[in-house]
């Protein structure tokens, strides 16, 4: 496969790994913020290629994992209404809320459908005029433009039975929150797909204000190893900066078309993150112009106190404070079949990857 195999070339990978081992002086901790990176790192067995001095920590970039229990509880309440069809991306249906999950509600008769795109959700709305279709919007700057296009299409088509429950989030505020909390890292492997939309400049503050290394990375094994090497060099030279490794997709200023769609439809708002609580300005909410598509405005509901397993350390894992094997539930009561925390649900979740690929190492 062109543009993929080149970045999985064994010789190249082993050469990069050897170069990292040679360049590393002392210990380094880098955080991959993006769930796509977490999943790629484990799928390609990257930890087995890195010297022990280099520690990769997963951060809060798996959209399913950081979605708060409140959001799941709301989606469940909506799904229990006979006139509602819930439309969502796959993983979300298995995330446990306080008392149930969308998957369990589906077994009991709720109409919950899995789609691969927002536009597919519009088709469901068109062919079910007697029902209200609620699309669960999750994801970062990467998926939010797709939701923006969906909302604009719904507006253009005059669809009145299509609503959005948004848990869309943006990346920089949570990265700043991590740093403010004192997470112990030397730099970030920055999310390549987010940066393809926003441009790499959104990470500048991390290097300038907090003196942290930043490399915007692609998702193939050679990309990730090259990014680690670039970070090691930045730290060795004590010159943290924002560098782009993923030059085939990312520029300094990003994709202006997608940025315009985003800002046309969404505005920043405070958002609830699993493990962090509310982070100001870290969410995306529909602008007033589009609020007729806002599920929470059209069908207001309130969820009670939420209920989480006190032994689940997902929150601390997302904050880079703990690793999956620190958890007493992992592999015992918490498995991909019976996830207790969201990090076990998604293929991009740190616990899920750990459980799948390393539990018997």
């Amino acid at each position: 496969m062109k543009y993929i195999e080149e970045y999985r070339d064994r010789e190249l990978i082993l050469r990069l790994a050897a170069k990292i081992a040679k360049t590393a002086k002392g210990k380094y901790s880098f955080m991959e913020v993006c769930g796509g990176h977490t999943s790629a790192i484990h799928r390609f067995g990257i930890p087995s290629l890195l010297p022990q001095e280099i520690n990769l920590i997963s951060g809060p970039g798996c959209p399913v994992c950081v979605t708060g229990t409140d959001f799941i509880d709301k989606a469940i309440l909506y799904s229990q209404r006979a006139d509602v069809i819930i439309v969502t991306f796959g993983d979300l249906i298995r995330v446990p809320g306080s008392y149930s999950s969308l998957e369990k509600e589906k077994l009991k008769g709720a109409d919950v459908r899995i789609v691969f795109s927002g536009l597919e959700a519009l088709n469901i709305a068109r062919s079910n005029e007697d029902k209200t279709v609620i699309f669960l919007g999750i994801g970062f700057e990467t998926t939010a433009p797709g939701t923006a296009v969906t909302i604009r299409q719904a507006e253009e088509d005059g669809l009145v039975n299509f609503l959005l429950l948004s848990a869309h989030k943006v990346m920089p505020p949570v990265m700043e929150a991590l740093v403010m909390e004192g997470v112990n890292i030397n730099g970030f492997i920055c999310p390549g797909h987010v940066a393809a939309i926003t441009g790499s400049h959104i990470f500048n503050f991390l290097a300038e204000k907090y003196h942290l290394g930043c490399v915007v990375s692609g998702f193939e094994p050679a990309d990730i190893l090259q990014s680690v090497l670039m970070l090691v060099r930045q730290i060795n030279l004590n010159s943290p900066a924002v560098e782009i490794q993923y030059t085939r997709a990312v520029t300094y200023s990003g994709n202006s078309l997608a940025q315009n769609q985003l800002s046309e439809v969404f505005e920043y708002s405070d958002a609830d993150w699993r493990g962090f609580g509310t982070i100001p300005g870290s969410g995306l909410t529909l602008r007033k112009k589009y609020e007729k598509f806002d599920a929470e405005k059209r069908i207001p509901l309130s969820v009670g106190f939420h209920n989480e397993n006190p032994n689940c350390i997902c929150g601390n894992i997302l904050r880079g404070l703990k690793k999956p094997d620190d958890c007493s539930l992992l592999g015992k009561s918490c498995t991909p079949e019976n996830p207790i925390g969201a990090c076990m649900v998604s293929a991009e979740g740190a616990c899920n990857s750990y459980f799948k690929y390393y539990r018997n190492e």
Partner: protein, 335 residues
């Protein structure tokens, strides 16, 4: 709360196993290990007996249809047990309003496939249910065949040893991708055909030439990963797999990248995993490769003594990790 059956229980993975082992086989008093066919000894003969239901959606897909699948699937379940398939039954649950024309096409495919495979469809049943009470058409087939003396061990994997080689008879994942492409909701079209085929002649040609076939299993729901874990369970050994040698066609690999699937978990309908004794694996490989359905056979790894209970994947790019047990729903109604 009374637990409800979910689609996960039909996935061929962990939950499906749990349901089968903790509910059905326990109540029916069926012995472990569970094999693709029951192996029954009666009056000096060893009989293999199997059954399978087909609910694939859509009924017609590139490279086959539900009828062809229903024959191949049962023929293959018998063949991988080391049996020569002989007789098949076919039961139809048809939704009211189903086009008779389609039923004729499906029955023709079944007749044709049975003839090619050298089996006879000898009994069956037909039920029609009200509209909405089943989805168009479900088929159940059962089949029997004889196992020649000396082949009884194959289904139980009694002769598996470390050093044995693991062989697949060609590229994996084509059936799942073909069926998925035929569904309209994903909006992709591809040239990928289902690998749906009766493998009994190919398997027989191997068994005729070598007595070192230590185990076979058809790679259906749950994909290669499910079969490898089954193998780990019954042999109590470890499996060492080289990702680079697992055959995957280019379009399948590409679509897997786009859709986020791993070919190791995708269903096939014309692929087996064969465990070959170390001394004769080259011979077995060349017999497989000389058959049209095994031209692209490859050795993908070996049985090892260390890392018992694990399937270790040496990734293409030089890394190493576990290949995970398939769990939860991969893709519903693929067969």
């Amino acid at each position: 709360m009374n637990e409800l059956v979910s689609l996960n229980h039909g996935s061929g993975g962990k939950q499906a196993n749990e349901l089968i082992r903790n509910l059905f086989t326990r109540k029916f008093g069926m012995p472990d290990p569970l094999t693709d066919s029951a192996v029954l000894k009666e009056n000096g003969f060893t009989l293999a007996f199997t059954t399978d239901s087909y609910v694939v959606d859509p009924l017609f897909f590139p490279g086959g249809n539900i009828g062809k699948l229903a024959v191949c699937g049962t023929v293959n379940d018998l063949s991988v047990s080391g049996a020569i398939p002989k007789y098949i039954s076919a039961s139809f649950i048809i939704e009211e309003g189903f086009p008779r024309n389609d039923l004729e096409i499906i029955a023709d495919s079944m007749a044709e496939e049975a003839e090619d495979a050298g089996v006879r469809i000898v009994t069956g049943d037909t039920k029609v249910v009200e509209k909405g009470k089943c989805d168009k058409l479900f088929i159940t087939t059962a089949g029997t065949g004889f196992i020649k003396p000396g082949y009884e061990h194959i289904s139980f994997g009694e002769k598996i040893r470390s050093g044995d080689k693991l062989i697949v008879n060609g590229p994996i994942g084509n059936h799942a991708i073909a069926v998925l492409g035929a569904r309209n909701n994903l909006n992709f079209s591809s040239s990928v055909l289902s690998d749906c085929a009766s493998l009994n002649h190919m398997i027989q040609s191997v068994l005729d030439k070598s007595d070192q076939v230590h185990f076979m299993r058809d790679i259906t729901r749950g994909g290669l990963a499910a079969v490898l874990y089954e193998l780990v369970r019954i042999s109590m050994k470890g499996m060492n797999i080289d990702e680079i040698s697992i055959p995957v066609d280019e379009p399948v690999r590409g679509l897997c990248e786009v859709l986020g699937f791993d070919p190791c978990y995708l269903a096939n309908e014309g692929k087996i995993l064969l465990v070959a004794g170390e001394d004769e694996y080259e011979k077995i490989l060349s017999v497989l490769r000389s058959h049209p359905l095994g031209v692209n056979s490859e050795v993908i790894g070996s049985v090892v003594d260390d890392r018992k209970g694990n399937v270790v994947l040496n990734t293409k790019n030089g890394g190493r990790r576990n290949l995970d047990v398939p769990s939860g729903i991969q893709l519903p109604r693929i067969c």
